[in-house]
Structures are given as C-alpha cells and as structure tokens.
Point group: C2
Chain length 201, copies 2
C-alpha cells in the first residue's frame, strides 16, 4: 500500500497471514477484514486457539509426530496394533494415511528424505530412532510408506539395509492405478507396475 | 477424522482455520501443519500479531473504518483533502480505492446497503453520521463510490435525497469498460453506458 491506511498492527497481521499456505497478499487482506468483522465469532476464538496450540505443541519423542502431548495421541492409543510400524516422511503423510483409515498401526516420522545434494544425510533424519524402536522388539512389520520419488525410494533402500538382521518384515506401498484414475492419463511406469502386480479378479 | 490423531488443541485450530475465507478443511490442515513446522518464524509472530490486533482493533467513530486507533489513520492523516468525502459500502471498498491511489480524500463507510427485504433500513447504516459530517461544513464534494448493484444504487439515491439543501456537490463513479477489459465479454448495460459517456480521443 502506497499510503498507510490502517494501524501497524493490522498491516502486520495481513503480512503474516499472507505467508500462510493457501493465502496470498490479496486473500490475506480479505481474511484479515473478515476476522475483524467476525471479531467475537471467529477472530477471538482463533486467536485463543493459536496461542494455546503454540504453547502446547511439541514433537513426539517416540515417533516424531507433532502433537500437544508427548508421547503423542497415536503412540499412546491402546487400541492400535503395536506390532506394525508405518514409516512416513512427514507428519502430513501420517495424517493422510489416517484419513484413509485402512490400518490401525503405529507410525514413525522420518522428517524428510535422504538428499545428498541438499546436504540431508541419515543423521538429519529420525532413522536412528526407528532402528532402536525396532531393535527393542515387539514389532513384526515395518511398512515403508515413503513417497514414490527418487529421494523417497533411496531412503527406503537405506532403511531396509539398516533393518537387515533385526528379524522384521519390511514392506512398501503397492504401486498401481489410483482409485478413480483413468489409464489414459497415467505414466508408463505406473501402468507397467500395475500390470506386473495384477491381482485375480 | 474417524480416529483422534492429534490433541484437541490442534484439531480446534484446524476447525477454526477452516472458517477463514480462502481456506477450507483441507487447506486448513495444511496451514496448521505449516504453522507448527515454522513455529518460530511464522506461528509465534502470527499468534502475537493476532492477539495484538484483536485487542486493539476498533471502529473509527468518525468514518466507520476499522483500525487500531480512533479516529483512524485515514481520518487523522493531515495530508488528505478534507473537502472531498468518498462514501463506500464497506471497509474492503475503502482499501480497494486506496490501492488505486487515485485520490487523497477522506472516506465514510456505510457498513452495507439499504435492503428492505433483509430488513436493512437507513438507521442500520452509518448514514446519519454522514449527514452530520456534511452539515458541519468544510466538505465541498461527496463521491458516492457504492457498488453498481440495485441495492448500491438505491442507497446512493437515498443519500443524495438526504444531502439535498446541504450545499455539497454529489458525484458517483463513472460507468464504462474496465481497463484491460474485452468488449466481447461485457454486458449490454456497461457497453451502453460506455458509449453514452464517451470521451474525446
């Protein structure tokens, strides 16, 4: 804005809102104005929820998930199958798999993938924690639910090597046609994998 | 989420973020996770900016703008032309006109438009404040920058009637082709107005 039209507190709020993914400079202005208008219904509760979450949020020392308790809600849930461990790159992957609601297992969040070009080595990821969790026993299967990218697959290979000799089954997600997907739009690699892993009808 | 995967503070933050315009349930999750990851760089400053703005924000008693001071930054700016008053429906319109940076005038925010069907009458808008500002003198022109909708135009007519006898020039925004607009996509009303108000080339 060429000229100041609002106090510095409002301009700062807009600047920071614009950095939230999903909002840009324009929608941040719109969001700030909406919040100011819905002061009691939304602005006040949101501000309180932010302060509270900010104060309480922490990393789970067991699995690397983010939560407001340590160990986290997933790690302390007694109904989950403790013998299966799903390894994911990021907390967002954990949340995505939970939305699928296909398994009731525990998780281990790596916090990224091996990427030598970016200077990310095994010590920068939560891999040691994974090895010691498995070494403690009680886990029969480790599912590597990393992304199907070069970095993700390299990380999966590294972890598989590290787990050798620990008497645990290591599996990975199936490759294939996404549910609702059209063959015409799929790449050759996916189609080849789907053909290779075909199942009885 | 079918099963609790995070503490109630995080779920509440996601629920409230989802009500911010521009964010939905999916992007609210993504935004919450991003905030948690950028705890020091974004989450903490944003939370502080929200608390501060929430505490300080108020309506300007002169013009109806929202700001952290009363009278607001626009009303107290000594460089603005106090003889011209731009009447807008909403604070967002004030901000939009300021971005155009075409005039350095003062504003008056109505807070909506007359809408008998929704039960919005003259007393529900900041019209009395406008009349008394003009009656106090010192204002030579009132620009009615209301939306080009039926309600906006009805409100403009009502205000013009109220201002009769107060010795002030009442103008409205020009109708015409938007800058960068293509004639082919414009409605007949706009084209007719643009032809009627044609200017020398």
């Amino acid at each position: 804005m060429s000229k100041r039209i609002a106090g510095p507190e409002i301009e700062r709020l807009i600047q920071l809102l614009a950095k939230v993914p999903g909002l840009g400079p324009r929608s941040a202005r719109r969001a700030a104005l909406y919040l100011i208008k819905k002061k009691e219904q939304l602005f006040a509760p949101l501000s309180a929820a932010m302060s509270e979450a900010l104060e309480k949020v922490r990393l789970c020392s067991v699995c690397g998930n983010v939560d407001t308790s340590d160990p986290c809600t997933v790690c302390t849930d007694p109904r989950r199958d403790g013998a299966t461990l799903i390894v994911v790159e990021d907390v967002s992957d954990l949340w995505a798999l939970e939305r699928a609601a296909a398994m009731s297992a525990r998780y281990h969040v790596l916090g990224g993938t091996l990427s030598p070009l970016d200077g990310v080595g095994p010590d920068d990821l939560n891999i040691k924690g994974l090895i010691s969790r498995v070494a403690e026993g009680g886990i029969s299967e480790v599912i590597l639910a990393v992304n199907a990218t070069v970095e993700g697959q390299a990380t999966a290979h590294y972890i598989t090597d590290q787990l050798t000799g620990l008497n645990v089954k290591v599996t990975r997600l199936a490759h294939g046609v996404p549910v609702g997907g059209e063959l015409d739009y799929l790449d050759e690699g996916t189609l080849a994998a789907a053909l290779k892993s075909r199942t009885a009808f």
